[in-house]
């Protein structure tokens, strides 16, 4: 097994990977930017090296620096986590050229799957169903508009190099087609340095359902069932669960086999995810393949009992997959909620600030994957995801109830989070019924606001008690309750600036 692994990431995923390494007696090297000096992944690792400037391109995206540090520390492998360099073929190639094992697939495969157009073509050729669309080279607006008209509306404009919902536009009619193409191009350019876009048929009542796969370097490959990831905001997942409420055993087997076919078509090894779009009639289409560990991997771990992070390490070390497809089964039901520093009542605007206090719910089958701590600054440099809370139990209903309980005990003070919002979403009667599509949040939570009714009386009472305990004023004698001159009257609430 590897002697020492450098983890080229931060936050909860770096913590997760360091723990997996340590359990396997592998030494770990953390890297960190200046703002992350005190972060849990740095404290947990056996060694740590500063990357300096917090700007991603100077720190967690700095290929040269990271490779150099890995060499200095004597690391024989690098785990990229997700995001940052995880799907950067140049990084994978750079590792290879320095004889450091990149924990992921071959650089060529990353390259191919990173190019959405080429990926789709490859899959089509391999017999994997894909969504009708245009993925051609003619990127002038006129050609794209023409192709769009052929596909028909609604249609999607997507960044070829995209991911995480960036550079995506839904177009409902001809009038705004060109404008949307331009917007997607601009956003794609800014996020990925590439403004190639493609067009595809927009699926009504779409669900986002993905399959986890695990493949070794010796051609063995299995799938670990699906994850239902339809609940999204701004095209980013916020709640994931497995099993999916709509997948039946036949469909599960069919989609699982298709995922394996997709992975085989590119000689894939490592953990990976094949994302499908499923329509209202349970037709499914290949969307993309993620060549890394997924944010939502814990729900698969909880229902299959398999440790994906450890298997990544074993596979990268050349070990054979000893798990057989027939040995893998799902049990119970698992749900993950992503805790973001964001304001759901202001368009999910990321929030920044200092985490003053944090408390995690604990209990049987509650898993907290987190990289935050009291005193931590949430900066605009990185993704605003703070942590993930994952629960599992005997069935979906129980897991929903467990998640509601867990969220109600989850305390993060100092920055605005989506915790209250998640509670409302997961308690929603349509969610309970399993009636979810990727439009779920838009359909039911468009104008959601926690505090429409203002400060609840419980909060007012708690504040008053707190201030009373912490004030230096002595206990005072009560005014007589019937006293007409008592200042206890006339207290209430008013709006600043309102006429009186």
């Amino acid at each position: 097994m590897f002697e020492k692994v450098l983890i080229a990431n931060r936050g909860e995923i770096a913590v997760r990977i360091i723990k997996a390494c340590q359990e396997m007696s592998i030494k770990t090297v953390a890297v960190y930017s200046n703002v992350d000096k005190k972060a849990p992944h740095v404290q947990l690792a056996d060694e740590s090296i500063s990357l300096g400037d917090p700007t991603p391109i100077e720190s967690y995206l700095n290929i040269l620096k990271i490779i150099e540090f890995a060499q200095d520390a004597g690391a024989d492998a690098i785990h990229p986590g997700y995001g940052f360099l995880a799907e950067n073929p140049d990084f994978a190639q750079a590792c290879k050229s320095k004889d450091i094992k990149f924990i992921g697939p071959n650089p060529d495969v990353i390259s191919l799957m990173g190019d959405k157009i080429a990926a789709k073509k490859t899959m089509e050729k391999a017999g994997v169903p894909v969504i009708p669309g245009y993925h051609g080279k003619n990127q002038d607006n006129t050609s794209l508009v023409k192709e769009g008209m052929k596909i028909g509306f609604p249609l999607l404009v997507k960044a070829a190099a995209g991911g995480g919902g960036k550079g995506i536009r839904i177009v409902h009619n001809e009038d705004v087609l060109e404008e949307s193409i331009e917007g997607a191009k601009r956003e794609s350019k800014s996020s990925f340095g590439n403004d190639t876009v493609f067009l595809e048929k927009y699926i009504e009542k779409p669900r986002h359902i993905e399959f986890q796969i695990l493949a070794d370097e010796h051609g063995n490959i299995i799938h670990l069932f699906e994850r239902e990831c339809s609940v999204q905001r701004r095209h980013q997942k916020i709640i994931e669960e497995t099993p999916s409420p709509i997948i039946n055993p036949e469909l599960r087997e069919k989609m699982g086999n298709t995922a394996i076919k997709a992975a085989k078509a590119v000689n894939y090894y490592n953990a990976g995810t094949v994302e499908f779009m499923v329509d209202g009639e349970l037709n499914f289409f290949f969307m993309e393949m993620n060549t890394r560990l997924q944010v939502e991997h814990p729900i698969t771990e909880m229902t299959t009992g398999i440790d994906l992070a450890k298997w990544q390490l074993k596979i990268a070390n050349g070990m054979k997959l000893t798990l057989k497809q027939n040995d893998i089964f799902q049990r119970g039901h698992a749900i993950e909620c992503r805790i973001y520093a964001e304001n759901p009542s202001k368009g999910f605007l990321p929030s920044i600030g200092t985490i003053e206090k944090v408390e995690f719910p604990t209990g049987p089958n509650i898993r907290n994957d987190t990289g935050i701590f009291a005193g931590m600054e949430i900066t605009p440099y990185y993704d605003p995801m703070l942590s993930k809370i994952v629960v599992s139990s005997e069935n979906r209903e129980e897991s929903i109830n467990k998640m509601i309980w867990a969220l109600s005990k989850y305390v993060v003070l100092g920055v605005t989070t989506n915790i209250s919002f998640l509670q409302k979403v997961i308690s929603h009667k349509e969610f309970r019924k399993g009636n979810i599509t990727t439009h779920f949040i838009d359909n039911y939570f468009k104008d959601w606001a926690i505090s429409k009714e203002g400060l609840p009386i419980t909060a007012i009472i708690a504040l008053a008690v707190y201030d009373s305990i912490h004030s230096r004023t002595q206990e005072i004698v009560r005014y007589k309750e019937s006293d007409p001159h008592s200042p206890w009257k006339h207290v209430g609430r008013w709006r600043i600036g309102a006429e009186e």
Binding site: K166, P380, I496
Partner: protein, 166 residues
């Protein structure tokens, strides 16, 4: 003891009187008698009749954060003065930046006429775009930044003069 809490532009005026572990809290002409203790720093257990309220409170640099019933509220203790009471109601259509970020695109220049809903400026932060739109039909008086400028949350992006409705 009188306390004023500001929460999302509303001011809540509360009075509290303490007798050992009993607290008499008056708000909106109602008095609540509760029994309370701080079970560990910032953790309150409050008994209001049959009901138990559990709350976690912490004081940040500027604000106070209160967790209760699974929700978090950000409040500020404020002194009420004549000034604050007569503070002007915010104008419809906020042209302040919603986020600290970089200005990546400015669509208009001084003197331009903008139609309500027009995108005036694009700000990028955390890899996402935020659009500043015209809150009404009007004439651009002054663009306060140029492209590639850094802008802080709350800073005014553009001054615009409302055009009288026809």
């Amino acid at each position: 003891m009188f306390i004023n809490y500001e929460h999302e532009n509303n001011v809540y005026n509360v009075s509290v009187e303490r007798r050992k572990d009993l607290y008499f809290i008056t708000y909106d002409n109602t008095e609540y008698k509760v029994k309370a203790e701080e079970i560990k720093p910032g953790h309150l257990k409050i008994k209001l009749g049959d009901r138990i309220i559990k709350s976690v409170i912490t004081t940040g640099k500027k604000d106070k954060f209160v967790f209760t019933d699974g929700n978090v509220f950000k409040v500020k203790n404020v002194e009420l003065s004549g000034a604050i009471k007569t503070k002007k109601r915010k104008e419809e259509g906020n042209l302040n930046s919603p986020i600290s970020g970089k200005i990546v695109n400015i669509k208009i220049k001084n003197g331009d006429i903008a139609k309500k809903g027009d995108v005036l400026m694009v700000i990028e932060a955390m890899k996402m775009e935020y659009l500043i739109r015209a809150p009404f039909n009007g004439k651009i008086k002054k663009v306060n930044f140029k492209e590639k400028d850094q802008i802080e949350i709350g800073q005014k992006t553009i001054d615009i003069i409302k055009k009288e409705e026809a």
